[in-house]
Symmetry: C2
Amino acid sequence: MAQETQFRIWPEELKEFCTRVFVALGVPERDAYITADVLVAADLRGVDSHGVARLKRYVDGIRTGMMRVDAKPRVVHETPTTATIDADGGLGQPPSYRAMEMAIAKAEKLGAGFVAVRNSNHYGIAGYYAMMALDKDMIGISTTNADVLVVPTFGRNAMFGTNPIAVAAPAGKERPFVLDMATSVVPRGKLEVYDRLGKPMPDGWATDETGVGTTDATRVLRNFATRAGGGLLPLGGEGELHSGHKGYGLALLVDILSAVLPGAAYADLVYPKTPDGKPLPANIGHFFGALRIDGFRPVHEFKADMDELITRIKNSPKAQGADRIYIHGEKEFEKQAEREANGIPLHEKVVATLRQIAVELNVPFSG
Amino acid sequence: MAQETQFRIWPEELKEFCTRVFVALGVPERDAYITADVLVAADLRGVDSHGVARLKRYVDGIRTGMMRVDAKPRVVHETPTTATIDADGGLGQPPSYRAMEMAIAKAEKLGAGFVAVRNSNHYGIAGYYAMMALDKDMIGISTTNADVLVVPTFGRNAMFGTNPIAVAAPAGKERPFVLDMATSVVPRGKLEVYDRLGKPMPDGWATDETGVGTTDATRVLRNFATRAGGGLLPLGGEGELHSGHKGYGLALLVDILSAVLPGAAYADLVYPKTPDGKPLPANIGHFFGALRIDGFRPVHEFKADMDELITRIKNSPKAQGADRIYIHGEKEFEKQAEREANGIPLHEKVVATLRQIAVELNVPFSG
């Protein structure tokens, strides 16, 4: 991304714009705000692939009826510590936000709360929901299944999404631990970079249509488009030599928690289409959890140990050639501080897309 | 392991022997039985490194006072869905078994239960405890921290154990999903194989004393002994190219859940020694969880979808050169069936060690 003449926009302004876009499309105001907040949180934290660069896909999803603006999410099953929400094919963010709120409320009462969501759509960054638990002195959990890109170990075809796992735990003086990881080696976006550059990508990221490792990113992306086979490798890479079966196991675990548990579509059954190729609601699922820290020990003790654990790791000797050890979430918190101070940089192509959406929906946009 | 003339022993016989060994050392009968059951379960499932090959280490641990036979584990904190147990420096298996029983009992009442354990010792295979939830139609979770072997991304020194994560979920006609994975690329035992063979090990498994990747297994093992630096790499390998920071994040997550949450030792503070080098109780910690499936949807629906998910993945096309896709736990269930039918094969060195223990403690052994 070119830095020198880059367009920057204030987070609140971008959030306001996205909210108005969703409202113009018929999304209820509160749902529009939540969805905008999740999108802009991704941009703030530097996860640009999940921010407003994706707005057009949401707009298209709503226009094609894949994401229903009149969705009426409802709780279909509930116990004191658990619940399942049917999202009714609407946007993924609003029912996810409420599911995490519910998990937290249940944990406030009884120590632990878990809520799964079915019949949903893309919910943005997994970490957003896990982090909602931090202020409550809880550990937050969030997982989701997703569009099919990842092959199981020894399999030829993609059977999983990048199926992220996010877990957030508070610290005291230190920043919280926020793990937010796809269970594939890399996301699809990394292949797109090598495709644009026309350069071979590293070994161990993806397989070709025969299911064998390749460094040809263009080929893998073309195979995605034609469903010819192959895909991203699970964390640990190809076969079992570097334990690719572990990443595959984590992807499968996420499918079980996010999809089988609430009764959503799983494996490659997500994002179905009509016989004539029209996209149907994705029917993906999510899983959210909250666990009270004071259910195990006093919060101040936990936080003091978290601080000491974090500084102990960060201050430990560095590998030759390295000058810093990071804690998970740290890079994103630093990015957020920089972008809150200077605005969110947007790629010119993204700005052009937002401008077009603004014109089409008659929503003001400063870009 | 040589197959042709290998010694085999029936599981019940081996369990009886181990129980008697622990009783001879002063462990209460019921605790001795639980510990023996966890050890033999590892041998049955083919995780030989965690079975009776390890018995001598337990015997030594008890003799040196590192594992106290007079430990009085007690619940130090409890809520309706959570608890913390102080294991009082005894064997790890008995309080772990009771912690998982407690988590299950809490889940039976309220839908979810989580119990963490501090001041504990090596607890055997993580999967054993997660699998205790299966018969109850629950999802079971088990994690533990462990002796320090794994480096953080960009770090020179080992700061974590292989910190396994185990999650078990029941199916219907199919075998359950049992993920039981170290969060390192490989266990130490794999390096020992290359050390014995005197051959270079694969890239991406471990780092040398400067924190840089090496294929010299002997050097890495020597560095462990002298605490010279380096160690096993987290799942995903060296640096961030193949997302080693994700494996590092999982290892850190396990330390937070298993150690910081109950107040055990974390990072490289586990397995402390006196100033004159005498081992002290390890003070490692564990984390156990149980989640009722019918807190989310009817069990028969969940199991039907699990069956369909499992067969769908297994029946999907295979990568060129592969003929089978495995579900996690499948290899171990097959191994268990074979060993239940034919007995557990033991390496001659292991048999010799057991024989020596038998003589020393005056416990009958058929080997």
